[in-house]
């Protein structure tokens, strides 16, 4: 009974929000204000690169209106597509563009909100600071197995990679490895965060993660002379880039719509920048 009333309330609010959305971009406090009238649970799942941004946005929203509940799960871009496509969550995050097949099969709508680069990362104790594409391809294919072959210490190279659900992996494999072979002995970790922890703990490690996740515990190496920074990602100097997307099945629910608008609004931009990404609207 209460659920039905809640839904009626949401529908009415949605109509009002719909009318409001026809207006130009709301004022400074507008995006968060709209949450005060909403209620319900928003489930988000998918790309692990998005999680810090999602968490901060959720924190702000839930402080404004504690009745709203936002749950955030990881799992990778594959999980995002799977869960939002099957209707298990309202927003599925992906770190790669949706394939036409996914769009047609599930009827998904994409909302890109940030630009992120994918960097090759090594442990800070590793003297190697730059690699060429060929070297990177050979390393990840397992052809080069010792750091001294690329100018480092005489130590074996420990490969870390992501699982199949990862959008980061997809972009990295497509754009840097040029869909080439990947060594079977690569250790698999389940998220960007896990990749960072793994590389930070292992002096001989090499892996890849979103530039937004790079901090002082790992070192991102230069690729063909290009510095792995978000600015370079944006202006094209650093070629391994992807956008971060929020996806919904068909039109988003009112709460999801409000959330997406919040992230895309000027209020959402500082959150995105704080975690090292470049907002798309800029």
């Amino acid at each position: 009974m209460k659920l039905r009333q809640t839904w009626q309330f949401i529908v009415i609010t949605a109509l009002c929000c719909g009318l409001m959305s026809l207006c130009p971009t709301p004022g400074r406090a507008g995006a968060l204000e709209s949450f005060k009238a909403l209620d319900g649970t928003l489930d988000i799942a998918g790309g692990t690169a998005h999680i810090p941004v999602m968490q901060d946005a959720a924190k702000n929203i839930m402080q404004v209106n504690p009745k709203i509940r936002i749950t955030i799960a990881g799992g990778g871009s594959g999980v995002g597509v799977q869960k939002v496509g099957e209707g298990l969550v309202a927003i599925g995050n992906t770190g790669r563009a949706l394939t036409p097949e996914e769009v047609s099969r599930y009827g998904l709508k994409s909302f890109p909100f940030a630009i992120d680069g994918v960097a090759v990362a090594v442990n800070p104790a590793n003297p190697v600071g730059a690699l060429t594409s060929e070297q990177a391809q050979a390393i990840f294919a397992g052809k080069i197995t010792n750091w001294k072959a690329v100018g480092g210490k005489d130590a074996p190279i420990n490969l870390y990679g992501r699982d199949e659900a990862s959008g980061t992996r997809e972009v990295f494999w497509g754009k840097l490895l040029k869909k080439g072979p990947v060594a079977e002995k690569t250790n698999i970790v389940a998220s960007n965060g896990a990749m960072k922890v793994a590389i930070a703990q292992d002096p001989g490690a090499i892996g890849y993660l979103g530039i937004g996740h790079v901090d002082q515990t790992v070192t991102a190496v230069k690729l063909d002379g290009a510095e792995p920074t978000q600015e370079n990602a944006k202006n094209g100097t650093y070629p391994i880039t992807r956008k971060l997307y929020m996806n919904t099945k068909g039109e988003p629910t009112p709460l999801a719509r409000a959330f997406i608008d919040y992230i895309l609004s000027p209020e959402g931009a500082p959150i995105i920048q704080k975690h090292g990404y470049i907002p798309v609207q800029q």
Binding site: G78, E86, A205
Partner: protein, 311 residues
């Protein structure tokens, strides 16, 4: 009140419809039906799991992908969905864990039942019981920060390896095995033990030459159940084994277990061959479980006390 003549004093009540359907006997029938229904729920649970696994793995057979799934390379981007490396990984991991844990379990039981001095026996047993209460995830958590860096230092590689997972897994299954063997050893006929004592055998001699040979069934049961417990564990393999889909060539190499594989791959696109292959993994695990149970039944081992057989 006379005792009705169709009640036997046997503990197992035959399925006999009570001839009197009034009074307490109608309630008896209702109670019996309810209890039987509850029992059926467990049976239904097993059937449901098997049914779902089969149903979702069916597209593999129907699409002719089965030979693909039973191959040696897992590289979905190239259309290779072989789960045999994971099967090998599971087997290697669990067999090595049992190899490490079983002698230790025998030693511990030997201590408790013979080699130990009086006041030390109870604390050791209490320690084993305490170990059953340690969550799997805590073993994994501590091993990540204690074992993995040391293996990386001494044996090379990433540290997330066969060895790391195997050692932790053996610690996990140790209390299971110890308690099973312990229960079995305790069931020795007291007359036999009295006779042995009367003949002047020391506790160790009695254990080695009298009780252990008698308890051979239980020893096999402990081995097999411990192995099956190791096979069913997901988290330790997921956290410690490195999850590379390859057959490891050395103990410092990374491997992937069937259970960890399911956990990693369930997130993929619903409907692809990769997704269906995890149900094939599930069926394999189910089949192994069933085979283990049948073997134990064949051995006529006693029903294992439940807190020793974690799944």
């Amino acid at each position: 009140m006379t005792v009705p003549d169709d009640h036997s004093l046997n503990l197992a009540w035959r399925r006999r419809s009570p001839r009197q359907v009034e009074g307490p006997f109608c309630r008896e029938k209702v109670v019996r039906v309810m209890l039987a229904g509850a029992m059926l729920s467990a049976a239904l649970g097993v059937a449901a799991i098997l049914g779902f696994l089969a149903y979702f793995a069916w597209p593999l057979v129907a699409g002719g992908h089965l030979s693909q799934v039973f191959s040696w390379h897992w590289q979905p981007v190239r259309g290779q969905f072989g789960i045999l490396p994971m099967l090998a990984g599971s087997l290697l991991l669990t067999l090595s864990a049992v190899l490490a844990a079983y002698p230790l379990a025998m030693g511990l039981c030997g201590f408790v039942h013979g080699a130990g001095r009086g006041p030390w026996v109870r604390p050791v047993l209490a320690l084993i019981h305490f170990m059953t209460g340690i969550p799997t995830v805590v073993y994994g958590f501590v091993s990540v920060f204690v074992l993995v860096p040391r293996i990386r230092q001494w044996l090379g590689g990433t540290g997330y390896s066969w060895l790391a997972a195997s050692l932790t897994l053996s610690l996990l299954i140790l209390p299971t095995m110890v308690l099973l063997i312990h229960t079995q050893l305790r069931q020795t006929d007291s007359r036999v033990r009295l006779a042995a004592a009367a003949l002047g055998l020391t506790p160790v001699q009695e254990l080695l030459w009298v009780r252990l040979p008698q308890a051979s069934q239980g020893l096999w049961a402990a081995l097999i159940l411990g192995w099956s417990r190791a096979l069913g564990d997901t988290l330790i393999a997921l956290m410690l084994s490195g999850n590379a889909p390859q057959v490891p060539q050395a103990v410092a190499d990374s491997l992937r277990a069937l259970t960890a594989h399911i956990a990693l791959v369930v997130a993929t696109d619903v409907g692809s061959a990769a997704y269906h292959s995890i149900f094939a993994c599930g069926l394999i695990l189910f089949a192994i479980s069933a085979a283990v149970n049948l073997t134990l039944r064949r051995l006529q081992a006693p029903v294992a006390a439940p807190h020793h057989t974690h799944g």
